[in-house]
């Protein structure tokens, strides 16, 4: 017997949320683009720890893909996702279509100006506008008390935190730890694009992060030297084309140019074949890489 509610319309979603709120139940929310892996499931578990009822959305948001990106081939598996969401213990699945999320003539967009510029914002100029816009819509549709986002997309997490604060959403944002494959590769729906050789090469991202963390803990605190250490590991992998390798403040995302602090973060974007992979880690402190 299925206990997962499947909600495909705004009315059905709002009615359910209203009923739960009238019982003073705390609503948790996990927005996803589907094709769920263990990383997503860990976010559902985290949401369950922070709330009484968890809603997971599955929606591949077109406005966060650039014109030459992988919107058309982005992997989809609603039936599989539904089973995993139920198994993970969530209470409702919201899967709206484009007509709900971008009604006719839709022209309203949300920008988090400073935090959207560096890192992935340079390679993907419309990406974070699309993310901030769709998350605003989903927040308004669901009205959760708490929402959970993964740290794999760390810049996105910080943008959502800033947006939630700036726009007075009154929603608690929780960041979930990165879930990794046994060789360290951060889980991502896009890992499905990799052939076996590329899949092996993709481990260079987490290897670079581990190397940098080891260097920092051994006393190397110069930003230049830490960046060189990461670049060296990526350069060793012939199938990997670095997009950016940067050291930035974990909160403001400002570049670190001199002496790095333990809380600063290394950010990587690397192309393996035509697949763009990202990863990040703090220089020290608890981290799922250890």
């Amino acid at each position: 017997m299925s206990s997962l509610m499947v909600l495909a319309t705004l009315d059905a979603l709002r009615q359910q949320v209203k009923a739960w709120k009238q019982q003073s139940l705390k609503i948790g929310f996990v927005p996803t683009m589907g094709y769920l892996h263990d990383g997503h499931l860990s976010l559902i578990h985290l949401a369950l720890e922070h709330s009484d009822r968890v809603i997971v959305s599955v929606y591949v948001n077109p406005t966060q893909f650039g014109p030459n990106e992988d919107l058309a081939q982005y992997p989809r598996d609603l039936e599989g996702d539904q089973a995993k969401i139920e198994q993970a213990g969530a209470h409702a699945l919201f899967y709206p279509d484009d007509a709900i999320m971008y009604p006719d003539n839709a022209q309203t967009f949300v920008n988090v100006k400073n935090l959207s510029r560096p890192l992935c914002g340079e390679d993907r100029p419309v990406h974070f506008e699309g993310v901030a816009t769709v998350v605003t819509k989903l927040f308004n549709a669901v009205r959760p008390d708490v929402a959970v986002f993964g740290k794999k997309d760390y810049q996105q997490l910080q943008i959502i935190r800033q947006m939630t604060q700036d726009l007075l959403f009154g929603i608690e944002i929780v960041g979930g730890a990165i879930v990794r494959e046994s060789d360290g590769l951060a889980m991502s729906s896009r890992n499905a694009y990799l052939n076996p050789e590329q899949r092996q090469a993709a481990a260079c991202l987490s290897r670079a992060l581990r190397t940098v963390r080891q260097a920092f803990s051994s006393g190397t605190h110069s930003a230049d030297e830490l960046l060189q250490a990461a670049k060296y590991v990526i350069a060793e992998e012939s199938l990997a084309q670095p997009q950016y390798i940067e050291l930035r403040n974990s909160t403001t995302l400002e570049t670190i140019t001199e002496e790095a602090q333990a809380s600063d973060r290394m950010f990587l974007a690397v192309r393996v074949g035509s697949t763009r992979l990202i990863d990040n880690a703090p220089l020290a402190g608890p981290c799922e890489l250890d």
Copy 2:
């Protein structure tokens, strides 16, 4: 004995709204920049017709003023406003400060792209971004069921309608009729800037709209001829400097170039001295100009 609740913090506001919602009371909202006149009070009355509890906000939003505009001298009278809001029958006044509305490092902005471009968007390039952003914040803070905006700022009303639909706010937007002085001048807090001579000259806006409506009802449907009629009336007033005189579709705000329809609207922005005044009216149908 005062029955008006005065709320200066987000917590106080949210607690009150939550209490009302738990009683299944419908929340109406009237956002203002204060210095209230009878136009604002008619919006409060309209909100009372559409809801059980009415919250009025008073906040002079800095981001909707351009660098050379009148933010510093914008008229303020919180004590007088409070008395008028209570007298009008509203239940709560929310008056946040800048630290609440634009917390440190605020950098998130909302744009309604197409509708923000023409008319006032041409003269005031950041204005509607500021409006859409602050209304998003206020909507998130108040979470009303219905919100009321005046038709004097007709482009603003359409932008808010579009934004509310696009961002899935689930809030009903109601437009309030323009309230006019005995000579037809649309009420505006900025009318306080006018000296007696300018005040008299300012009646040319409503005179132009009346002339255009009469021309339309007499069978003049050519966009060019209707625009000429309005321009002629404004040109007759030596103290008036037109900023724009345009005929546009009431919903899409697209320019009418050939034959006008009854539902199309004439839009005026006219400078009298250093004061910028706006007004608008449909070509036919019920209108407070009659």
